[in-house]
């Protein structure tokens, strides 16, 4: 039995068709953006994950498994022909191999074989120093930024009454958020590296990056503080607590989760920026790991390798070919993975938090 036609159904008309098509245009725009993002992400994951997966190796000692790409320092790659086969080796391995072959030839009384090797810088080994450097930069700068940012937000939200000074402060925060990152880099170079004579160092990078994310942290913290209901404060004050006691025991504990989750977005930004650390903290290459210092104070005044800067170096300073591509894509993949992880954590935590606090 077929249903009778619905007499109240919308009649197809030109206007309705136009509406539908315009809405489809908007929908297409949205999905085009998403597709572009997915394309970039997918391309790097597809081509980059191979490098990391190929890096896995078993070892004799305790962890039994290690990853040469993640946990070794960058080396030059040598490609040469030996016994009619094409061989690829990292710098150290190549030297050892060459010596052994030459020693063998000497023992047999033959002339030493000639090696015609092409070398590609940074294309062998891994990116361990860059990962370490990035982590150190993020930890230090976020510590500074959170201290300054949370304190500023507490002042703006709890203590300050609307006045001229507060207006200036808010204006400054708003403007600071719009300053290009390269300008922060120039500023950090002029102030920390030259004026304070810290040279290219972790400390200079920390402060430069901290000042850069300050607006993000302040805005996020203020929002979290605002979300704590007024009643909490009034109740505490009515019981005779001082302002600071109120903030310490009745405001901050409830705002802290919010502050931290929103600040994770700031971390993603710190980790992702290259321009501010180019002249303040990053080295193109450094053999020693950061904890390999003579004095404790040297730790703060050393430059480090950093992932974003390493990507810049390997993608612009060395030619593109099948040998260099591995390290380029691999580094980009690891970096994107770290940043994506941070961003996802932030987004998930925030959504969870929004659901959990209900006053």
């Amino acid at each position: 039995m077929s249903l009778p036609p619905n007499p109240f159904a919308a009649k197809p008309s030109r206007a309705r068709a136009a509406e539908k098509s315009v809405f489809w245009v908007f929908r297409l725009a949205t999905y085009l953006v998403l597709a572009c993002g997915a394309f970039v992400f997918g391309d790097i994951v597809l081509k980059g994950s191979g490098t990391v997966l190929h890096g896995f190796k078993t070892t004799e000692q305790f962890p039994y498994i290690t990853n040469t790409f993640l946990f070794e320092s960058p080396e030059s790659l040598y490609v040469f022909e030996h016994d009619g086969k094409k061989v690829e080796m990292g710098d150290k391995e190549y030297r050892a191999f060459r010596e052994s072959v030459e020693a063998k030839a000497k023992l047999a009384g033959q002339p030493a074989p000639k090696f015609k090797a092409e070398s590609y810088v940074y294309s062998a080994g891994g990116i361990w120093p860059c990962i370490v450097g990035t982590v150190l930069l993020v930890l230090g700068s976020m510590t500074i930024a959170l201290t300054l940012g949370v304190a500023s937000a507490i002042y703006l939200n709890e203590y300050a009454s609307d006045g001229k000074i507060v207006r200036y402060i808010r204006l400054a925060i708003l403007n600071l958020a719009g300053v290009p990152s390269i300008v922060f880099g120039l500023f950090g170079f002029g102030m920390f590296v030259i004026f304070l004579d810290w040279n290219v160092s972790l400390l200079a990078g920390w402060f430069t990056l901290a000042f850069m994310v300050l607006p993000v942290v302040i805005t996020a913290s203020e929002e979290a503080l605002k979300a704590v209901p007024k009643g909490f404060r009034e109740g505490s004050l009515a019981l005779g607590a001082t302002k600071w006691q109120t903030i310490r025991s009745n405001v901050l504990p409830y705002a802290l989760p919010g502050i931290l989750t929103s600040s994770i977005l700031g971390i993603a930004r710190v980790a992702g920026e290259t321009a501010p650390i180019m002249f303040t903290a990053a080295y193109v290459v450094r053999d020693k790991l950061p904890w390999d210092v003579d004095k404790f104070s040297d730790f703060f005044f050393q430059g480090v390798m950093a992932l974003p800067y390493h990507i810049y170096v390997v993608s612009s300073k060395i030619p593109q070919n099948e040998y260099t591509e591995r390290v380029q894509y691999g580094t980009a993949f690891v970096f994107l993975g770290i940043v994506a992880l941070i961003a996802t954590t932030s987004i998930v935590l925030r959504n969870k938090l929004r659901g959990s606090y209900k006053w």
Partner: protein, 533 residues
């Protein structure tokens, strides 16, 4: 009950002594601490300004000295002559372009082989080689004088270095050694004499040059189509115009005076309106911001043209049309895109997008698009596309906020009056939130113009003002940008040199531009916000 036996009533006072630091109670101290931290934002902004100016301020003085020696060593004098030679080269290029078009016509439309084409163009080639040869006398003089002027400049620089060395020795208290430093004061008049002395010879050369040119262009070769022929006639006219400029050049040379002072404003205008950014050259360094500024603006413009429709469209879709489930999916996804680091996008541009766009441009049936096909993998378009991906999340988030702030009653009233959904969205919701959307676009612009890594890696880094005569095809030319030049050259310059200071000045320009954009965005929001009550 007598008074004496009554228990002594103590007045209500807090006896516990308060801890005081610098005369402040603990609470006041905490208050001051937080206030001080909040003030950091202002301090940082002030520090940025101070340090950019501290490093950059000397630029204008140094640039003035740079321009002065340009004049005093006679480089300026030689450049007047060189300009004549350069203009001639530009005309030969025009001629070459006409030849290319003719070849394209002959091989494409007429279907001739390359050998036949060359045979057809024999007369044309003869003409163009004669045309090219006319410049020789002038070229010879310019080449000779270039060496003379460079020698004077080198002498001057050596002298300046010696002076600086002596100053340092004196500062170090080594008087004897300082006295031993040989310094000869340059007598520019005497040094310039051979340079200025060539004027009669140049006049002769110029006259011969003009005569020969007249002779050559008196009869132009005949080309197959009227369109090409009209180009040839235009070339004839251009050459005659060019010859007409000769007396002006001679006049410039006659009235040239090396003692004419270089005013301070010229140092400023040379930067602000300078059309050349040329560093570490053997001849003369120029620090003109125009090519970089134009590059930055062009790349940002391309990015916004792509990002505004997408960003605003997506915001409208998510806020007004999409279902709740779609919203929940799309919003975090776009936020996720904003987290992709710019250096990764830049790498993606080098590794994938550049080649992809070039391959698309070389598809035969897309030939009609201006600028297609292009040969440069890295150009303004590649950078613009990637910057668009950076701008979209910014524009989307802020525009979506603006749309969200439109009160429900607006929508309800519109529906109640019988408007369709489309009418409500386009005529009510979007106009009501227009100020927010415009400021979102502006902030997107601020984000894009300050972006460094993408343009550094993908814009092609050719320091030249793009050729706007190419029409829309200009977007496929490589450019260099303000952010890119700082990132690229800062690592290599000598601290305190004029080049170093110039980069800081570019930084100041960027900084002011960012503040201006921010200011406009805030102003628009405040001024055009509809009162919602």
């Amino acid at each position: 009950m007598s008074l004496e036996s009554a228990p002594t009533i103590r007045p209500f006072v807090i006896e516990k002594a308060r801890t005081r630091l610098f005369g402040l109670t603990l609470d006041e101290c905490i208050h001051a601490f937080f206030g001080g931290n909040a003030f950091m934002a202002v301090v940082v902004l002030a520090l940025i300004t101070v340090f950019l100016f501290r490093e950059g301020a000397d630029f204008f003085g140094q640039n003035r000295a740079n321009l002065r020696i340009y004049r005093e060593a006679g480089l300026e004098y030689v450049d007047y002559m060189r300009q004549q030679e350069k203009d001639h080269t530009a005309l030969t290029r025009y001629l070459f372009d006409v030849r290319m078009r003719t070849v394209k016509y002959l091989t494409g439309v007429k279907g001739l082989t390359m050998a036949q084409t060359n045979a057809q163009l024999a007369a044309f080639d003869d003409f163009s080689s004669r045309y090219g040869d006319t410049v020789e006398p002038v070229r010879g003089i310019v080449a000779d004088l270039t060496e003379v002027a460079t020698a004077i400049k080198t002498k001057f620089t050596v002298n300046e270095d010696a002076k600086e060395g002596r100053r340092q020795l004196l500062a170090g208290g080594k008087k004897d050694e300082a006295a031993a430093v040989a310094i000869t004061n340059l007598d520019f008049k005497a040094e310039l004499a051979p340079l200025v002395g060539t004027l009669p010879a140049f006049k002769d050369a110029s006259a011969t040059f003009a005569k020969n040119l007249e002779q050559v262009v008196a009869t132009v070769p005949v080309l197959p189509t009227p369109e090409l022929q009209s180009r040839m006639l235009k070339f004839q006219q251009l050459t005659r115009d060019y010859i007409a400029t000769f007396p002006a050049t001679i006049h410039e040379l006659e009235t040239w005076d090396y003692t004419k002072p270089v005013p301070f404003t010229q140092s400023l205008t040379a930067f602000v309106f300078g059309r050349e950014w040329l560093t570490a050259s053997f001849w003369q360094d120029w620090y003109g911001v125009i090519p970089l500024l134009v590059g930055s603006l062009m790349v940002s413009f391309i990015a916004l043209v792509l990002a505004v429709p997408l960003g605003v469209g997506a915001a409208i879709y998510v806020n007004q049309i999409a279902s709740a489930r779609e919203q929940k999916l799309i919003k975090p996804a776009i936020e996720f895109i904003s987290a992709i680091p710019s250096v990764v996008l830049g790498f993606f541009g080098i590794a994938v997008l550049g080649q992809l766009l070039r391959a698309i441009s070389q598809v035969a049936w897309l030939d009609w698009i201006p600028g297609f096909p292009f040969a440069e993998r890295l150009n303004a378009l590649t950078a613009g596309c990637l910057l668009a991906l950076i701008a979209v999340p910014t524009i989307f988030t802020l525009a979506e906020d603006a749309l969200n702030n439109v009160p429900r009653s607006f929508k309800e009233a519109s529906f109640a009056l019988g408007a369709s959904r489309l009418q409500t969205v386009l005529r009510i919701i979007v106009p009501a939130s227009l100020s927010g959307i415009v400021s979102a676009v502006l902030l997107g612009l601020g984000r894009v113009i300050g972006e460094t890594m993408v343009v550094l890696l993908c814009a092609g880094n050719r320091i030249a003002i793009p050729d706007f005569t190419a029409g829309l095809a200009v977007v496929t030319q490589p450019v260099h940008t303000m952010t890119g030049i700082i990132a690229q050259e800062m690592g290599e310059v000598v601290r305190g040199s004029i080049h170093y200071r110039a980069l800081f000045i570019v930084g100041i320009v960027l900084f002011s531009l960012a503040l201006l954009i921010n200011f406009l965005a805030q102003k628009i929001v405040r001024k055009y916000r509809i009162s919602i009550g």
